[in-house]
């Protein structure tokens, strides 16, 4: 009996500091944000009404969903291609693939966004080359628009899609693939009818992670969109610091959390968390 009691005490003492810290520094202030959404500037449901009627808010929501959908499809497809080589290539191929995945992963979002500005801007590398070879006479508008945002976000999110895909591909049994080839199936056919379906959980996990991340993206759209292609996170920033329309910023945050929460609940119905690491 005594040891049972001291066990519970020990667990409580060890777990309490972090739990207390997060309740005080995260959960409690989040409730404060929820309160803002109902009280600023006037008490009531006005801010949530505005979400449903305000044209600007709606167009930003729709743009965010559209960009997130495109980014998800492109990043998961690109990540799939490089993960195949990372997991199943020769040792040299695997080393190169690992380098190309991990180096960008560890470099800050600002540096990466800046790199894309350097490549895509009017006086950047791509436009300089295209003009030098006489392919275009005027620089192409590659950045400060939705195209730039999609390119930058895809670049940021590919490594995040790689990890769930890699874990699905590692657990795949080679003999099934060899059997398909042995029975006369072509490489293409083996890939589409055996390999891809067997990594489905990884594809779902990767798509969900990329989509959820895209919804809350802030830095890349703000820099590569140049204020013209505003996404939902930047709208919150502008509402807090430029309007200061704290109530609406808070209401958008609450809706975003509910939406992401619903998506995560859906994700965990189909994929076990362990498969994502």
């Amino acid at each position: 009996m005594r040891s049972y009691l001291s066990d519970r005490m020990g667990a409580a003492l060890l777990m309490a500091p972090l739990l207390l810290f997060l309740v005080l520094a995260y959960a409690w202030p989040f409730l404060g944000v929820v309160k803002w959404s109902f009280t600023l500037p006037t008490p009531g449901l006005g801010q949530y009404e505005a979400l449903l009627t305000d044209d600007l808010v709606q167009s930003v929501f729709i743009r965010t969903l559209r960009i997130a959908a495109v980014v998800t499809v492109v990043s998961v497809a690109a990540a799939y291609a490089i993960t195949v080589v990372w997991v199943r290539g020769t040792p040299a191929q695997r080393l190169i693939a690992e380098f190309c995945i991990l180096v960008p992963f560890w470099i800050s979002v600002l540096t990466r966004a800046f790199g894309w500005v350097a490549l895509l801007s009017n006086r950047g590398l791509i436009n300089t080359w295209l003009q030098a070879i006489g392919f275009v006479s005027e620089p192409l508008a590659l950045v400060r628009n939705e195209f730039g945002v999609i390119v930058g976000m895809t670049h940021f999110l590919i490594p995040f899609a790689v990890f769930p895909l890699a874990s699905a591909m590692r657990s795949l049994d080679d003999r099934v693939l060899l059997a398909a080839r042995g029975l006369g199936s072509s490489r293409m056919r083996t890939f589409w009818t055996v390999f891809v379906p067997m990594t489905r959980s990884g594809i779902i996990g990767a798509a969900m992670i990329v989509f959820v991340f895209s919804l809350g993206f802030f830095v890349t759209p703000a820099i590569l969109g140049g204020g013209r292609s505003v996404m939902i996170a930047e709208l919150i920033y502008l509402r807090i610091f430029q309007s200061p329309d704290w109530g609406l910023g808070a209401a958008i945050s609450v809706v975003l959390v509910l939406f992401v929460g619903a998506l995560m609940a859906l994700l965990f119905r189909y994929v076990r968390p362990k498969q994502l690491i």
Binding site: S6, G10, L14, A118
Partner: protein, 268 residues
Amino acid sequence: MPTYRPGPVSLIIAAFVALFLLMPLLAVIPVSLTPSRMLAMPSGELSLRHYRALIEDPRWLQSILLSIRIGIVSSAFSTVLALCFSLGVWMFQPRFTAALVGFVLLPMVVPPVVSAITLYFLLTSISGFSSFFGYDTWLGVAMAHSVMTVPFATVLILVSLSQLDRRIDLAARGLGATVWERATRIIMPNIKFGIVTAALLSFVLSWEEIGVTLFITSVNAITLPRLMWMGLRDNIDPAIAALSVILIIITVLVLAVRSLVVRQRGGH
């Protein structure tokens, strides 16, 4: 070892993806060497003026020192909290463990902009009572960064604990070791690689944190990413290209050392 290798089509597509991933990192090199004061490709001659600007403008050094200080404090704080919590979970396996771990992981899953507005609410409330802790103070930033890094530290430490053989702890317990002795003399030495990794990752995440930092600083607590942001937003300053090249070189070196260490340890 897989015996089923990717075919030529896969290799060609993967090569394009690899190129795409490296391109923006390579693009900053020529920009950092341009003699122009604006963002442009060097045409003909090269110049190191933007590297010199980094040394001569004291704001860069100040923000680097501030970022290091905030990174060390928030990394130490979040690693200690995460370690205690994970030890509690592993040693006692209390009821509702899944719910408690889920709660701790929230700041990792919630969109960063929502965490940012939450921490903005917290720090502006604290500012009402205190002038050295709250909105736009370095302690306030360090605490906000701790909230953001603690889930990552917890995940890493829980993963290394899950690879530990429970029987060594049971043996120590059977021989009469106290909870404190089990934690510090049996368990922690066995997961020290995980603890160090957690502290390092927390530091790196704090060092490059910008989404939350933007909301909770204005003129005093200007971290390095915050200063880069200002240079990127207003007019694009090629000094950022020079800084980016230095950061990329450091990253590649650290990753190379890490992979050598991992290889020598025979891990994965």
